[in-house]
Assembly symmetry: C2
Homo-oligomer: 339 residues x 2
Amino acid sequence: MKLLITGGAGFVGARLARTLLARGTLAGKKIEHVVLADQFAPPADLLADARVSARTGALLAQCAALAEEGFDGVFHLASAVSGECELDFELGLRSNLDSTRHLLDAFRLQLSKGGKVPTFVFSSSVAVFGPDAGVPMPPVVTDTTLPAPQTSYGTHKLMCEYLIADYTRKGYIDGRSARLMTVTVRPGRPNGAASSFFSGIIREPLAGVGSVCPVSEDVRHPVLSPGRTVEGLIATYEATRETLGRRLAFNLPSLNVSVGEMLAALARVAGPEVRARVTFQRDERIAGIVANWPTGSVAGTAARLGLKADDSFDDIIRQYIADCRATPGGEAALKGLAA
Amino acid sequence: MKLLITGGAGFVGARLARTLLARGTLAGKKIEHVVLADQFAPPADLLADARVSARTGALLAQCAALAEEGFDGVFHLASAVSGECELDFELGLRSNLDSTRHLLDAFRLQLSKGGKVPTFVFSSSVAVFGPDAGVPMPPVVTDTTLPAPQTSYGTHKLMCEYLIADYTRKGYIDGRSARLMTVTVRPGRPNGAASSFFSGIIREPLAGVGSVCPVSEDVRHPVLSPGRTVEGLIATYEATRETLGRRLAFNLPSLNVSVGEMLAALARVAGPEVRARVTFQRDERIAGIVANWPTGSVAGTAARLGLKADDSFDDIIRQYIADCRATPGGEAALKGLAA
């Protein structure tokens, strides 16, 4: 089988590609070819795999050519992040709404020329939820909580969920939308996501660097490790339509945790001196966005698919440390850990 | 003030224009100019009003020019109907999704050049609702029932609701979305809407013509008269942001009525011989679409705005008869009524 991963050079996309290549099969079929479409080139280890090809460039310009290649399945992860889209409205429209629309239409056109109906997994987001005057947001959101996005990012993700449901109803794709929780701990540099600090307050101290937390310790949020997130995307792909039921968008599992609990876990796993590298300084812009996000989530469909959240935030930190150690040169990210 | 009505030559649009011109004011301001944009020319009586101009052509091609004209307010009613969009997927995308997006972006661009922030009333639809495996659709939907559209028409209307909420949050427009109930009794010919028969089973018998009802007598549905619908659109325009609250999309009031009750009202108002012109023959395509629609609705925000549904379906039929009599040549539509 031949798979497309958009955003395939990104953190989640590359991890998904590695996991799929290591498994060798998806939905009972042998994976013969994985195409990674991204505006950046994929990591070298992926390019070294004979099954991998890269299509580098803006997704919007690539949709038609990608659809013409023909794919059994698509993981559509490419996305501009929430903070970026709040600063650049047109970037959000282009990257998160138009690109998805064009990709769907390219596959629809290809189908009319005799192409296949691809399984299409869309990475939506917990950012579709928000407070609402009509229905106060419950402390914990579910698959059927009324969405009320408070960012352009969340708005476009939600619009695409509904678009994908309609293209699926019409038989153009076999679509499903997994709402990702905040993925933490992300490696590398902070990104433009308003949620970036949820990784930064763990990653920076482990690297021996100070980190400023822009919200207070009692802020609660649903998070999931990169490993569990990739597991969720794969299970979403493999789920039968019968298991999914009529509603094709659902929340991945989450660990609902406060900033204070995250930092307590950091102290337990890495020591109090690592924890002490985190200080607090409120950033009104970030705090304002985060205040409109859910404080927790409960999985419905995802639980039926057998998916589970990480057992503890300690486990999430341990996963990050193990990942760094398994990556060539990754030890540099753990300079702050006592030997 | 200067107003734009898209779909301004259509049935609801033309009635809205007439009502606005007769009032002379909107939101306390004098109406100086009303632009009717439609693919068809507006009715002659509207063109005869010195305050009215027509912009005839496809909306998608007119968005930029319209925004450059500058408007204090917009009623965006232009839409392809549900049945048409089920038969022609691209028509729905173009007419109901892309046109709205382009119109919004044209106003956003104009604002960046020093234009005004228009009040923007969008006619959404009760078709955003549908049955859902996760949450069974309640017998009666409310403003905060989880939408689950089962047609492309409902999907695009819902997507536009969320788009309009986001453009409003960003300050590009002052948007609000009124979800129209099925407007009945519509004059003229059947249209491509799956709900067309809700007018046909009243209009045709009154004209002395037989009408075939494609669903059974016990099908229940939320309807509203043209007069109350126009009243709702105007109140939606005039509502303060404070009254609307945070959720900008809401259901107009409705009379929740069964086909049998509609026909009983027809017998009361027009006589049993008129009622007898309606026969039943199930149309699976129409019945399938209608089966996925709500059987009733309750107004929340609309009730706070002081809006009410018609008192009875008898009143709705009487409104239609009075409208026909008030229209030059309209008596022809009442040939089936005993003198």
